[in-house]
Protein backbone atom coordinates (compact mmCIF):
# COMPACT_ATOMS: atom_id res chain seq x y z
CA UNK A 1 0.00 0.00 0.00
CA UNK A 2 2.61 2.52 1.04
CA UNK A 3 4.78 3.66 -1.82
CA UNK A 4 7.82 5.80 -1.37
CA UNK A 5 8.04 8.97 -3.38
CA UNK A 6 11.51 9.44 -4.82
CA UNK A 7 12.42 13.08 -5.30
CA UNK A 8 14.97 14.06 -7.89
CA UNK A 9 18.21 15.35 -6.42
CA UNK A 10 20.02 18.53 -7.29
CA UNK A 11 23.18 18.04 -9.36
CA UNK A 12 24.94 20.86 -7.48
CA UNK A 13 24.20 20.06 -3.85
CA UNK A 14 22.85 16.49 -4.02
CA UNK A 15 19.80 17.32 -1.93
CA UNK A 16 16.30 16.29 -2.99
CA UNK A 17 14.45 19.01 -4.85
CA UNK A 18 11.13 19.83 -3.22
CA UNK A 19 8.19 20.24 -5.58
CA UNK A 20 7.17 23.80 -6.34
CA UNK A 21 10.61 25.31 -5.92
CA UNK A 22 12.16 27.44 -8.64
CA UNK A 23 14.10 24.49 -9.92
CA UNK A 24 14.97 23.59 -13.47
CA UNK A 25 16.24 20.64 -15.43
CA UNK A 26 17.97 20.52 -18.77
CA UNK A 27 20.27 18.27 -20.72
CA UNK A 28 23.96 18.85 -20.22
CA UNK A 29 24.89 21.74 -22.53
CA UNK A 30 28.03 19.97 -23.66
CA UNK A 31 27.22 16.29 -24.15
CA UNK A 32 23.41 16.42 -24.09
CA UNK A 33 23.11 12.98 -22.53
CA UNK A 34 22.83 13.64 -18.83
CA UNK A 35 19.98 15.62 -17.34
CA UNK A 36 21.17 18.39 -15.05
CA UNK A 37 18.79 19.24 -12.24
CA UNK A 38 19.22 22.41 -10.19
CA UNK A 39 17.13 23.48 -7.25
CA UNK A 40 16.03 27.03 -6.58
CA UNK A 41 18.72 27.77 -4.02
CA UNK A 42 21.60 26.55 -6.14
CA UNK A 43 20.34 28.63 -9.03
CA UNK A 44 19.90 31.66 -6.84
CA UNK A 45 23.37 31.41 -5.34
CA UNK A 46 24.98 30.48 -8.64
CA UNK A 47 26.44 27.25 -7.32
CA UNK A 48 28.49 25.24 -9.75
CA UNK A 49 27.26 22.01 -11.31
CA UNK A 50 29.27 19.34 -13.04
CA UNK A 51 28.14 16.83 -15.62
CA UNK A 52 28.94 13.37 -14.28
CA UNK A 53 29.61 12.08 -17.77
CA UNK A 54 31.57 14.70 -19.71
CA UNK A 55 32.81 16.78 -16.78
CA UNK A 56 31.36 20.03 -18.11
CA UNK A 57 31.26 22.56 -15.33
CA UNK A 58 28.64 25.27 -15.24
CA UNK A 59 27.15 27.81 -15.10
Amino acid sequence: MSEKLSLVTCTSCGKPIPPGSESTKFLCPNCGEIQIKRDGKCRKFGRLYKCPKCGFQGP
Binding site: E22, F26, R38, R43, P59
Partner: protein
Amino acid sequence: MSEDQVKENQPTENLPEEEPVEEQIETVEAPVEETVEPAPEVPEAEVVDEEADEEVEVAETGPEETLLLPRDTLLSAGIHIGTRMKTLDMEPFIYRVRPDGLFVLDVKKTDDRIRTTAKFLSRYEPSKVAIAATRLYAHEPVKMFCKLTGATPLIGRFIPGQLSNPQYKNRVDPEVIVVCDPRADAQAVKEASTVGIPIVALCSTDNEFAGVDLVIPTNNKGRRALAVIFWLIARQVLRERGEIGPDKDPPVTIEDFEAKVTREEEEDT
Protein backbone atom coordinates in the same frame (compact mmCIF):
# COMPACT_ATOMS: atom_id res chain seq x y z
CA MET B 1 64.57 24.23 41.20
CA SER B 2 66.86 26.44 39.37
CA GLU B 3 68.05 23.48 37.19
CA ASP B 4 64.44 22.45 36.52
CA GLN B 5 63.61 25.93 35.58
CA VAL B 6 66.51 25.93 33.21
CA LYS B 7 65.31 22.62 31.62
CA GLU B 8 61.78 23.89 31.33
CA ASN B 9 62.96 27.04 29.78
CA GLN B 10 65.12 25.32 27.20
CA PRO B 11 62.33 24.22 24.83
CA THR B 12 60.61 27.55 25.09
CA GLU B 13 63.82 29.26 24.19
CA ASN B 14 64.22 26.99 21.19
CA LEU B 15 60.76 27.65 19.82
CA PRO B 16 61.34 31.14 18.60
CA GLU B 17 64.39 29.88 16.73
CA GLU B 18 62.29 27.31 14.83
CA GLU B 19 59.44 29.60 13.91
CA PRO B 20 61.42 31.90 11.69
CA VAL B 21 62.66 28.87 9.75
CA GLU B 22 59.09 27.91 8.91
CA GLU B 23 58.31 31.45 8.03
CA GLN B 24 61.29 31.62 5.80
CA ILE B 25 60.15 28.49 3.98
CA GLU B 26 56.74 29.95 3.47
CA THR B 27 58.11 33.20 2.20
CA VAL B 28 60.33 31.35 -0.22
CA GLU B 29 57.47 29.24 -1.55
CA ALA B 30 55.00 32.07 -1.96
CA PRO B 31 56.70 33.88 -4.86
CA VAL B 32 57.10 30.59 -6.75
CA GLU B 33 53.34 30.11 -6.74
CA GLU B 34 52.76 33.68 -7.78
CA THR B 35 54.97 33.32 -10.80
CA VAL B 36 52.62 30.71 -12.26
CA GLU B 37 49.62 32.99 -12.54
CA PRO B 38 50.84 36.17 -14.09
CA ALA B 39 49.80 37.71 -17.28
CA PRO B 40 51.65 37.38 -20.55
CA GLU B 41 54.76 39.37 -21.15
CA VAL B 42 53.72 40.31 -24.67
CA PRO B 43 53.01 44.03 -24.95
CA GLU B 44 49.55 45.20 -25.82
CA ALA B 45 47.79 48.34 -26.92
CA GLU B 46 46.30 50.41 -24.13
CA VAL B 47 42.84 51.77 -24.82
CA VAL B 48 40.50 52.81 -22.04
CA ASP B 49 37.36 52.84 -24.18
CA GLU B 50 35.17 49.83 -23.40
CA GLU B 51 33.92 49.39 -26.89
CA ALA B 52 37.44 49.34 -28.25
CA ASP B 53 36.55 49.03 -31.88
CA GLU B 54 39.97 49.97 -33.12
CA GLU B 55 41.88 48.09 -30.52
CA VAL B 56 43.80 45.00 -31.45
CA GLU B 57 45.36 43.36 -28.49
CA VAL B 58 48.20 41.00 -29.18
CA ALA B 59 48.00 37.92 -27.02
CA GLU B 60 49.44 34.45 -26.77
CA THR B 61 48.55 32.24 -29.67
CA GLY B 62 48.91 28.52 -29.61
CA PRO B 63 49.55 26.63 -32.83
CA GLU B 64 46.81 24.08 -32.10
CA GLU B 65 44.25 26.72 -31.17
CA THR B 66 41.20 26.90 -33.44
CA LEU B 67 38.72 29.69 -32.83
CA LEU B 68 35.42 30.26 -34.56
CA LEU B 69 36.74 33.49 -36.03
CA PRO B 70 40.31 34.73 -36.41
CA ARG B 71 41.64 35.99 -33.12
CA ASP B 72 42.25 39.44 -34.56
CA THR B 73 38.62 39.77 -35.61
CA LEU B 74 37.41 38.79 -32.16
CA LEU B 75 39.82 41.12 -30.43
CA SER B 76 39.12 44.05 -32.75
CA ALA B 77 35.42 43.64 -31.99
CA GLY B 78 36.30 43.90 -28.33
CA ILE B 79 34.52 40.76 -27.15
CA HIS B 80 37.24 40.29 -24.54
CA ILE B 81 36.86 43.73 -23.00
CA GLY B 82 35.34 43.59 -19.54
CA THR B 83 34.76 46.32 -17.02
CA ARG B 84 36.69 47.80 -14.13
CA MET B 85 34.62 45.70 -11.76
CA LYS B 86 35.08 42.00 -11.14
CA THR B 87 32.80 39.52 -9.44
CA LEU B 88 33.94 36.32 -7.81
CA ASP B 89 31.65 34.32 -10.09
CA MET B 90 33.37 35.62 -13.22
CA GLU B 91 36.90 35.14 -11.92
CA PRO B 92 37.52 31.84 -13.79
CA PHE B 93 36.81 33.57 -17.10
CA ILE B 94 39.11 36.53 -16.51
CA TYR B 95 42.40 36.42 -18.32
CA ARG B 96 44.20 39.35 -16.74
CA VAL B 97 43.91 42.87 -15.42
CA ARG B 98 45.22 45.80 -17.37
CA PRO B 99 47.32 48.45 -15.69
CA ASP B 100 44.36 50.83 -15.96
CA GLY B 101 42.21 48.40 -13.93
CA LEU B 102 40.18 46.97 -16.80
CA PHE B 103 39.54 43.24 -16.55
CA VAL B 104 40.08 41.28 -19.74
CA LEU B 105 38.22 38.06 -20.55
CA ASP B 106 39.74 34.88 -21.92
CA VAL B 107 38.82 34.63 -25.60
CA LYS B 108 39.36 30.86 -25.70
CA LYS B 109 36.82 30.32 -22.94
CA THR B 110 34.35 32.60 -24.70
CA ASP B 111 34.84 30.57 -27.87
CA ASP B 112 34.27 27.29 -26.02
CA ARG B 113 31.11 28.60 -24.43
CA ILE B 114 29.73 29.81 -27.76
CA ARG B 115 30.12 26.29 -29.13
CA THR B 116 28.52 24.78 -26.04
CA THR B 117 25.63 27.25 -26.12
CA ALA B 118 24.99 26.57 -29.80
CA LYS B 119 24.83 22.84 -29.10
CA PHE B 120 22.51 23.51 -26.21
CA LEU B 121 20.15 25.81 -28.14
CA SER B 122 20.05 23.57 -31.19
CA ARG B 123 18.43 20.82 -29.10
CA TYR B 124 15.32 22.94 -28.64
CA GLU B 125 12.62 23.69 -31.13
CA PRO B 126 13.47 27.09 -32.71
CA SER B 127 10.24 28.81 -31.68
CA LYS B 128 10.75 27.65 -28.08
CA VAL B 129 13.94 29.68 -27.72
CA ALA B 130 13.38 33.24 -26.48
CA ILE B 131 15.96 36.03 -26.50
CA ALA B 132 15.51 38.95 -24.13
CA ALA B 133 17.29 42.18 -24.99
CA THR B 134 16.72 45.30 -22.96
CA ARG B 135 19.97 46.94 -24.01
CA LEU B 136 19.66 49.22 -27.03
CA TYR B 137 22.74 47.87 -28.77
CA ALA B 138 21.39 44.32 -28.46
CA HIS B 139 18.12 45.02 -30.29
CA GLU B 140 19.44 44.68 -33.82
CA PRO B 141 21.64 41.61 -33.17
CA VAL B 142 18.74 39.84 -31.46
CA LYS B 143 16.32 40.71 -34.28
CA MET B 144 18.74 39.29 -36.83
CA PHE B 145 19.46 36.25 -34.68
CA CYS B 146 15.76 35.47 -34.38
CA LYS B 147 15.25 36.02 -38.10
CA LEU B 148 18.00 33.54 -38.89
CA THR B 149 17.27 30.87 -36.32
CA GLY B 150 13.52 31.25 -35.82
CA ALA B 151 13.78 32.16 -32.14
CA THR B 152 11.33 34.47 -30.34
CA PRO B 153 12.63 38.00 -29.68
CA LEU B 154 11.68 39.84 -26.49
CA ILE B 155 13.08 43.24 -27.33
CA GLY B 156 12.86 46.42 -25.31
CA ARG B 157 11.20 46.66 -21.96
CA PHE B 158 10.35 43.26 -20.56
CA ILE B 159 6.70 43.43 -19.53
CA PRO B 160 6.27 41.83 -16.12
CA GLY B 161 4.20 38.70 -16.49
CA GLN B 162 5.34 38.07 -20.04
CA LEU B 163 6.55 34.63 -19.00
CA SER B 164 4.77 33.93 -15.76
CA ASN B 165 1.27 35.42 -15.98
CA PRO B 166 -1.08 32.95 -17.72
CA GLN B 167 -3.76 35.64 -18.05
CA TYR B 168 -1.54 38.00 -20.00
CA LYS B 169 -2.58 37.79 -23.66
CA ASN B 170 0.91 38.40 -25.12
CA ARG B 171 2.48 35.79 -22.90
CA VAL B 172 5.21 33.67 -24.43
CA ASP B 173 5.95 30.13 -23.38
CA PRO B 174 9.56 29.31 -24.24
CA GLU B 175 11.56 26.30 -23.11
CA VAL B 176 14.84 28.19 -22.83
CA ILE B 177 15.67 31.88 -22.60
CA VAL B 178 18.81 33.81 -23.52
CA VAL B 179 19.41 37.17 -21.87
CA CYS B 180 21.91 39.77 -23.02
CA ASP B 181 22.72 41.00 -19.54
CA PRO B 182 21.41 39.34 -16.36
CA ARG B 183 21.38 42.70 -14.60
CA ALA B 184 19.62 44.68 -17.30
CA ASP B 185 17.24 41.78 -17.97
CA ALA B 186 16.67 41.03 -14.29
CA GLN B 187 12.90 40.76 -14.75
CA ALA B 188 13.31 38.15 -17.47
CA VAL B 189 15.71 36.17 -15.27
CA LYS B 190 13.32 36.36 -12.34
CA GLU B 191 10.33 35.15 -14.32
CA ALA B 192 12.29 32.44 -16.09
CA SER B 193 13.40 31.18 -12.68
CA THR B 194 9.81 31.17 -11.51
CA VAL B 195 8.57 29.13 -14.44
CA GLY B 196 11.61 26.84 -14.26
CA ILE B 197 13.17 27.21 -17.67
CA PRO B 198 16.96 27.23 -18.18
CA ILE B 199 18.60 30.63 -18.58
CA VAL B 200 21.57 31.35 -20.82
CA ALA B 201 23.23 34.71 -20.20
CA LEU B 202 25.89 36.85 -21.78
CA CYS B 203 27.96 37.90 -18.79
CA SER B 204 30.67 40.50 -18.50
CA THR B 205 33.16 40.70 -15.65
CA ASP B 206 30.70 42.59 -13.45
CA ASN B 207 27.83 40.10 -13.63
CA GLU B 208 26.83 37.48 -11.11
CA PHE B 209 25.56 33.96 -11.74
CA ALA B 210 22.36 34.36 -9.73
CA GLY B 211 19.61 32.49 -11.59
CA VAL B 212 21.80 31.75 -14.61
CA ASP B 213 22.28 28.18 -15.85
CA LEU B 214 24.78 28.74 -18.62
CA VAL B 215 27.16 31.65 -18.95
CA ILE B 216 28.81 33.06 -22.06
CA PRO B 217 31.65 35.28 -20.85
CA THR B 218 31.82 38.25 -23.18
CA ASN B 219 31.56 41.96 -23.50
CA ASN B 220 27.80 42.53 -23.34
CA LYS B 221 27.90 46.30 -23.75
CA GLY B 222 29.78 46.95 -26.96
CA ARG B 223 27.90 47.44 -30.21
CA ARG B 224 30.33 45.48 -32.34
CA ALA B 225 30.92 42.84 -29.64
CA LEU B 226 27.21 42.04 -29.39
CA ALA B 227 26.96 41.77 -33.16
CA VAL B 228 29.89 39.37 -33.34
CA ILE B 229 28.66 37.22 -30.48
CA PHE B 230 25.13 36.83 -31.81
CA TRP B 231 26.40 36.22 -35.34
CA LEU B 232 28.71 33.50 -34.04
CA ILE B 233 25.99 31.84 -31.98
CA ALA B 234 23.56 31.99 -34.90
CA ARG B 235 26.12 30.47 -37.24
CA GLN B 236 26.95 27.70 -34.80
CA VAL B 237 23.28 26.94 -34.16
CA LEU B 238 22.64 26.65 -37.90
CA ARG B 239 25.66 24.42 -38.27
CA GLU B 240 24.57 22.22 -35.39
CA ARG B 241 21.10 21.89 -36.89
CA GLY B 242 22.63 21.02 -40.24
CA GLU B 243 20.97 23.93 -42.03
CA ILE B 244 24.34 25.11 -43.33
CA GLY B 245 27.50 23.14 -43.88
CA PRO B 246 30.13 22.85 -41.15
CA ASP B 247 32.40 25.32 -42.96
CA LYS B 248 29.74 27.59 -44.42
CA ASP B 249 28.63 31.00 -43.25
CA PRO B 250 25.07 32.29 -43.02
CA PRO B 251 23.84 34.63 -45.79
CA VAL B 252 24.03 37.68 -43.50
CA THR B 253 27.24 39.33 -42.37
CA ILE B 254 28.36 40.64 -39.01
CA GLU B 255 27.71 44.18 -40.25
CA ASP B 256 24.03 43.28 -40.70
CA PHE B 257 23.90 42.27 -37.06
CA GLU B 258 25.41 45.50 -35.87
CA ALA B 259 23.14 48.16 -34.40
CA LYS B 260 23.03 51.18 -36.66
CA VAL B 261 24.29 54.45 -35.25
CA THR B 262 22.08 57.40 -36.12
CA ARG B 263 23.50 60.66 -37.42
CA GLU B 264 22.72 62.41 -34.15
CA GLU B 265 24.67 59.84 -32.16
CA GLU B 266 27.60 60.16 -34.56
CA GLU B 267 27.60 63.91 -34.08
CA ASP B 268 27.56 63.50 -30.31
CA THR B 269 30.62 61.27 -30.42
